[in-house]
């Protein structure tokens, strides 16, 4: 009886997760891998992978957009989390609730909100125009990369807040007091104590945000109507039959996306392992 339980318990506790991940994450990805390397009659081919060279602009745009918005989100969200965490309870729970709502505010509604604000006929755009400043003539466009970064920040910053707050709250007052007692300036405290402690969390949060932006589909789709070339949009164009491409070309694009994200993740794993060893945790 005891022995049986010792064997069965891990299966009961961990089994469902493993089974779920295997059937709904790993197998579907494997299916894509197979179809990207097979032609119509099922033979091995590299044609579709070579075709990826034609969509290098999509990858460039996607990486640029994700990197910029993730950096913005990490910096602004991180600072905000720190500034808010010292405040009274009501301010904190307001920020927390707002973060959860704003992180949900991605996608189509977010696109509409920004069109109403800084779109070509948006409120702010018209105000500036009345003041004699045409921001669209000055080179700003909501429908290009800088505009998308501005929009993405609306869900990147709240997500950063949600993710980083536990780590920021874990920064003990005593550490700061100890540093100050030894004569450290605020800058020194952050450079030598605060940031190194937070670094693994910050790095993992950055990756979280990067992935979040890289796979965003509804927001850029609603904003640019597919005019700006991004990887997820190209894939959906293939899936819904908007372009004259074989399904295997879509699988190859998807594979490219997996490779980019895989590299980022690997990089992050190595970096945070080194940091952990360095900080001795």
């Amino acid at each position: 009886m005891r022995r049986w339980r010792r064997r069965a318990l891990p299966v009961i506790f961990i089994g469902p997760l493993i089974l779920f991940v295997l059937s709904f994450l790993i197998l579907p990805a494997g299916q894509l891998l197979l179809s990207a390397f097979r032609d119509e009659s099922g033979n091995f081919t590299l044609t579709y992978l070579e075709g990826l060279a034609d969509s290098s602009a999509a990858f460039e745009n996607s990486i640029l957009l994700s990197g910029a918005s993730a950096l913005l989100g990490t910096v602004v969200g991180g600072i905000t989390a720190y500034l808010v965490c010292g405040r009274e309870n009501s301010a904190r729970s307001f920020v927390r609730a707002f973060s959860a709502v704003a992180a949900n505010f991605a996608g189509v509604p977010l696109a509409f909100a920004f069109v109403a604000t800084v779109g070509s006929l948006g409120m702010i755009t018209l105000w500036f125009k009345q003041a004699g400043l045409d921001i669209y003539r000055l080179g700003f466009s909501l429908y290009g990369l800088p505009g998308l970064v501005l929009v993405y920040a609306y869900f990147q910053i709240p997500l950063m807040l949600i993710v980083i707050t536990p780590a920021v709250e874990g920064l003990r007052k005593e550490w700061r007091e100890a540093a100050e007692g030894l004569g450290a300036t605020p800058l020194q405290y952050w450079r030598m104590v605060g940031l190194p402690i937070l670094m693994p969390s910050l790095a993992s949060a950055f990756v979280l945000l990067f992935g979040n932006a890289f796979s965003a589909y509804a927001t850029p789709y609603a904003l640019t109507s597919g005019a700006l070339s991004l990887v997820p949009i190209e894939i959906s164009n293939v899936l819904s039959g908007n372009v004259m491409l074989a399904p295997q070309a879509g699988a190859a694009l998807a594979l490219g996306m997996i490779v980019v994200m895989g590299l980022v993740m690997l990089f992050h794993q190595l970096a945070s392992r080194r940091l952990k060893r360095w900080t001795g945790r």
Binding site: F105, F112, M257
Partner: protein, 253 residues
């Protein structure tokens, strides 16, 4: 320093407030200089608004339940008995990033064409939603459980004669309220606004309905955008208040 702090928070606040205000103004616009509630009346008379909203909420709740049932026991066991497994779980929890929604939907629709009773109902969406929210839920729960001294807690509970059920439901879960609420908040937020899977698998959830409205009725779309924000806000406040109340009870003991 204190002044700079206020300016920074003020600017961040403005960035988040302005689009909402602009959307509000836009939703009341009725051409030239007239403003009123026509957009809202037209919107509320659409039956599809209510059905899609109800569907999305149902899916969000199911996603929360499903991911907690799958994840809490596994992460709990890892912290208690198999710390070595953390490396594996970290990789697993990162996988949904490596395989984003648009990629997963392609893979899933290629692999699973049946059974009919599962694939043809909107509840099928709960599966990809759990996958999608897995990294966030895992991180939140992992941090929460890591902060507890789970071994001491469970040894104490078990030496007092608690079984596994008592240990999980009366010791671990009550100590985990903050993490559970955080995980639930994230999951609801993501599931309610999810567009990619629903759109490509052709289910009319709330986000898909908003996109549909936005193509032809800009005022209604602005009204709907604002409304979706307010509804989620209300739901979030409810969850948050509930969570804090329980945390306070735990704190006074």
């Amino acid at each position: 320093m204190k002044f700079g702090r206020k300016i920074f928070l003020g600017l961040v606040g403005l960035y988040f407030a302005i689009p909402l205000v602009a959307t509000g103004v836009f939703s009341l616009w009725q051409g030239s200089n007239r403003y009123g509630f026509d957009g809202y009346t037209a919107l509320f008379n659409q039956d599809e608004l209510w059905t899609s909203l109800a569907l999305s909420f149902e899916l969000a709740v199911e996603t929360v339940l499903a991911s907690l049932v799958i994840l809490v026991p596994a992460i709990f066991w890892m912290h208690l008995r198999l710390p070595r497994l953390k490396a594996v779980f970290d990789v697993i929890s990162a996988l949904p990033f490596v395989i984003p929604p648009i990629v997963l939907v392609a893979g899933m629709s290629a692999l699973y064409t049946g059974p009919e009773w599962l694939v043809s109902t909107p509840h099928y969406l709960v599966i990809p939603y759990v996958v999608m929210t897995l990294p966030y839920t895992y991180r939140t729960l992992d941090v929460g459980l890591g902060a507890l001294d789970i071994r001491t807690l469970s040894e104490a509970a078990q030496s007092l004669g608690a079984g596994w059920g008592t240990l999980v439901f009366r010791v671990v879960l009550p100590n985990l309220t903050t993490a559970l609420v955080g995980a639930a908040l994230l999951t609801v937020a993501i599931a309610m606004g999810e567009f990619t899977f629903a759109n490509i698998l052709l289910f009319k959830t709330f986000a898909v309905f908003i996109a549909f409205i936005g193509q032809s009725y800009p005022t209604e779309a602005a009204a709907l955008t604002l409304l979706s924000f307010l509804i989620t806000w209300a739901a979030m406040m409810g969850v948050l208040l509930g969570g804090r109340e329980r945390a306070e009870i735990g704190g006074t003991r």
